[in-house]
């Protein structure tokens, strides 16, 4: 199939199948309504109405340029300076896409971990304590406790507990990425957004990261962009398939990988795309 960057072409012909989560155990924590994202005049997300279940992992998959990362970054207003985002992003009854929202406070609740591990050029301890100090936590005992809890939740504590004052830049890729997760969860967010967090990691680190995410979903709601189909299959409860700026299919991950309703989804997850 020819993949055009111009999403106004062909999309009307594409079927859509969107089944929103409806699990009383995991009520919706975040939803988007009529979300559109424009880079200049170019529309990158033409239709992004999704509901995300709390304490579950939702995977966003799709080919390069399909809009999944743009969508993810919109969820905590990371696109504010580079794109125009219209529509509502509802979080606990509040539209966090409104201009008067305190973006920094909102990002404390909706944290982000990026594709490449990006620890600060500081000690392991200070990587985590940095944001806390900015928020006025100065008590050493309180800081110690949060640093330890965050590192434990990110499954890094046992490896670094004796080296907390060493530079974070000396960590391996997998460890650095888990440090970034520890840093994100230190400020106690509700939601963790992850943009291909394992794409720069080797298989062992990837497996450890996935184990960490499965543990973390007990405390956080996780939305992850991944190019790794098996990863989406392994860790997520729900999967949204993006193509040409639209969500073509959204369903439980098991449905998406065994019996998708839209042919393009089937082609994509089977590696039969193009």
């Amino acid at each position: 199939m020819f993949l055009s960057n111009d999403i106004t072409q062909n999309t009307e012909m594409l079927d859509r199948h969107v089944v929103q989560p409806a699990d009383p155990q995991h009520p919706t924590i975040l939803s988007t309504e009529d979300l559109h994202v424009y880079y200049g005049k170019k529309e990158a997300i033409a239709e992004g109405d999704l509901r995300f279940a709390s304490n579950q992992i939702t995977a966003l998959i799709g080919p390069s340029g399909s809009g999944k990362s743009t969508f993810l970054r919109s969820l905590n207003r990371m696109n504010d300076r580079i794109a125009t985002v219209t529509g509502r992003i509802m979080y606990r009854g509040v539209d966090i896409n409104q201009p008067d929202i305190d973006v920094y406070e909102m990002r404390r609740r909706v944290g982000m971990v990026f594709q490449r591990p990006n620890p600060f050029a500081k000690s392991i301890y200070d990587n985590i304590a940095f944001a806390l100090r900015l928020r006025g936590v100065t008590d050493k005992h309180a800081l110690d406790e949060i640093v330890e809890t965050s590192l434990k939740q990110a499954a890094l504590w046992n490896q670094v507990k004796d080296d907390l004052n060493k530079s974070a830049l000396a960590l391996s890729g997998g460890q650095a990425q888990r440090l970034c997760i520890a840093r994100a969860i230190a400020v106690k967010p509700d939601i963790l957004l992850l943009d291909e967090p394992a794409s720069a990691l080797d298989p062992v680190s990837t497996s450890q990261l996935e184990d960490t995410l499965l543990e973390l979903k007990q405390h956080y709601s996780i939305i992850i962009v991944t190019h790794n189909m098996q990863q989406a299959g392994r860790i997520s409860e729900y999967t949204a398939f993006f193509n040409q700026g639209r969500v073509l299919e959204y369903d439980t991950t098991s449905h998406i990988f065994t019996n998708p309703q839209v042919q393009v989804t089937s082609d994509y997850v089977s590696g039969n795309f193009g």
Partner: protein, 225 residues
């Protein structure tokens, strides 16, 4: 890599269809051997049964390999799972065909019982036709045909019940018929089981097409209720 997978899947599909045709032939030969009381043909069939078992093992190994190497999903996964499951059903159907061949030898020159002979003939015809049609349904990925075929299995079950009743009746009428009638019972049971296995293959064809796991076997459905 995708092209490689497609080639291997096509090969797997062809091997499975070939095994299906072999099982279809074996079932036909088994019922012919019984109807004609042809001990030589029956023994030949029994001697070649291991070939079907080997094909089953080889197809299973191939499916395991493809799952491990390519981690297929959606329709690819369903096709491989269908073959993996259906291949066992076919092998079991062939085992029952082998039993029918044994019955042909065991019956020897005992006196035939016309009413049972006719009913067995009817069952044989339905069974061999079912197994031919299930292969066609698989090749054409025709889930509707598979559902229709599963309905035919009911007729096979009815005939089996009738043969059971008539056999007991014959045994009561004349104890001399006892051994012969019990062989008819066994053959009817074997043919009925072959019908059940064909129905199971039909269920996998429905799964292949729709992703839905269904119960088409009336006997199992009754148990479920």
């Amino acid at each position: 890599m995708r092209r490689l997978f497609d080639d291997e899947l096509a090969e797997l599909d062809a091997d499975f269809t070939e095994m299906g045709m072999l099982v279809s032939e074996v079932v036909q030969q088994a019922v012919d051997a019984f109807m004609n009381r042809d001990a030589v043909a029956a023994q030949k069939l029994i001697d070649h049964d291991h070939e079907i078992n080997q094909r089953e093992i080889s197809l299973e190994q191939k499916t395991f390999e493809m799952i491990a190497l390519y981690q297929p999903v959606t329709t690819d996964l369903r096709e491989i799972v269908t073959i993996l499951k259906a291949v066992s059903e076919l092998e079991r159907a062939a085992d029952h065909a082998r039993n029918v061949a044994h019955s042909a030898i065991k019956f020897g020159s005992k006196q035939k019982i016309p009413v049972l002979e006719q009913l067995i003939g009817e069952m044989s015809q339905i069974t061999t036709q079912m197994i031919r049609e299930v292969l066609a349904a698989y090749v054409n990925k025709d889930d509707q045909a598979a559902r229709v075929l599963a309905e035919v299995d009911r007729k096979l079950d009815q005939l089996n019940h009738q043969i059971r009743a008539d056999s007991y009746q014959q045994m009561r009428l004349d104890p001399a018929f006892e051994t012969g009638a019990s062989i008819y019972l066994n053959v009817a049971q074997d043919l009925s089981r072959i019908g059940d296995y064909v129905t199971n293959v039909c269920e996998w064809i429905v799964y292949l097409k729709s992703g839905q796991i269904v119960e088409l076997n009336p006997a199992n459905a009754d148990n479920a209720n």
